[in-house]
Point group: none
Chain length 232, copies 2
């Protein structure tokens, strides 16, 4: 892997310089921004890690982090929050938006470097084993699991083979659990604009899915005159 690039965002210039020097000394490439706005003019995607001060004037560090986490291109870049505020709520809020660590001021340089290394090590591992395009893309209701990535369905641990339409139908129902979906909705979502099929086709697929997922079959409910739904 190439040299890791780190972006430091803090409005205290001296602190930035000190961090830059020390991190470069550890073999990282370091860029600096004195505000969130300035940082956002850069191509964020080139960095492996962002050190972000939560207490800045213009756009708060929190807001910036949220923007980065909202964009798929930058969502996976780890962020370490630095903050002088030590209230627990701030800390937790930061972590909820995807910060991978936080450091409270006053902190030692040695401390910062240790955390940087730790986070980079962790995210590198993630990318290798823990995250092969893994995005929580799994639906689970008790013992019924749908792996949306591998298109796999397991019932209490044992695999159940669902055909494509069956899988998509069940996925649609579960991801809208608690709502009754009309046949029209089901057709437009599962069968798309493709061929037009009869409503009976849905019923047949409902029957098959029900029988395949065992106990959980009864979670699929029929509301005569309305459509089908998945029990919440």
């Amino acid at each position: 892997m190439a040299v890791e690039r780190i972006l430091v965002v803090d409005d205290e210039e001296t602190l930035c310089e000190v961090l830059k020097l020390n991190l470069e000394n550890e073999g990282y490439d370091v860029d600096i921004a004195f505000s969130a706005e300035q940082a956002l003019t850069l191509d964020i995607t080139q960095y492996s890690l962002i050190l972000l001060d939560i207490m800045m004037g213009d756009i708060s560090g929190v807001k910036m982090a949220k923007m980065l986490k909202a964009d798929v291109n930058t969502a996976d870049i780890p962020i370490i929050f630095c903050t002088a505020r030590d209230t627990e709520d701030d800390m937790v809020m930061g972590l909820n938006i995807g910060a991978d660590d936080y450091i409270m001021k006053p902190y030692t340089i040695r401390n910062v470097i240790a955390r940087v290394k730790s986070v980079l090590r962790r995210t590198r591992n993630h990318k290798m084993c823990d995250t092969p395009a893994e995005k929580q893309n799994t639906l689970q209701v008790e013992g019924l699991k749908l792996d949306l990535e591998f298109k796999r369905c397991t019932v209490d641990g044992v695999e159940v083979k669902l055909a494509r339409k069956e899988f998509e139908l069940l996925t649609y129902l579960i991801s809208h659990r608690g709502k009754i979906l009309s046949r029209e909705q089901i057709l437009s979502k599962v069968w798309k604009e493709e061929v037009v099929v009869l409503d009976r086709t849905i019923d047949v697929n409902i029957t098959r899915v029900r029988s395949k997922i065992g106990t959980y079959g009864s979670y699929i409910v029929t509301r005569s005159g309305f459509g089908y739904g998945f029990r919440d």
Copy 2:
């Protein structure tokens, strides 16, 4: 909202008891489990919050938390991790799997309670404003509930099967409660432009609904010469 229920999972019995006493003193209902396995025999969905010791023998707290977060039925229940291990990696790992806070031992009871309150306050807010998809999709009059999404009617908690026309008729009446609706209005709203049916048909459906919703049947009032309405 009813009393908040909290589940404490820790293998130190004395600690559990102390937590239980103190939390109950704050007005919470508290249950205890001495292991993750024991905890999993309970109906987790009834709790508003889980205090989970990360360091337990059988199934680690981490594993239990992961299971809970994977199941849609329990995924939204906040978890506070308690741990004696203070390495940052453990902490971050915990937060990554969806723990809503963490507390490191040794901690004071006062501290725990403060965090419990903080987390409950935060998640309560979440439920109110954070869920845009969830609008007013339910009509409720005392113990009579109409889930407009799931097309489900419950009377004091027990489901009552309403046929489509019955459901829509009741929905119409309740959503205009306090007003008397003429048969003409009812026909145009519930029966739409469909076939023209006799006025007797409405009466019959009124009767059916009345008898199905038990006590609340008398909430549907008749104004001779005008129509029907739902008591406000």
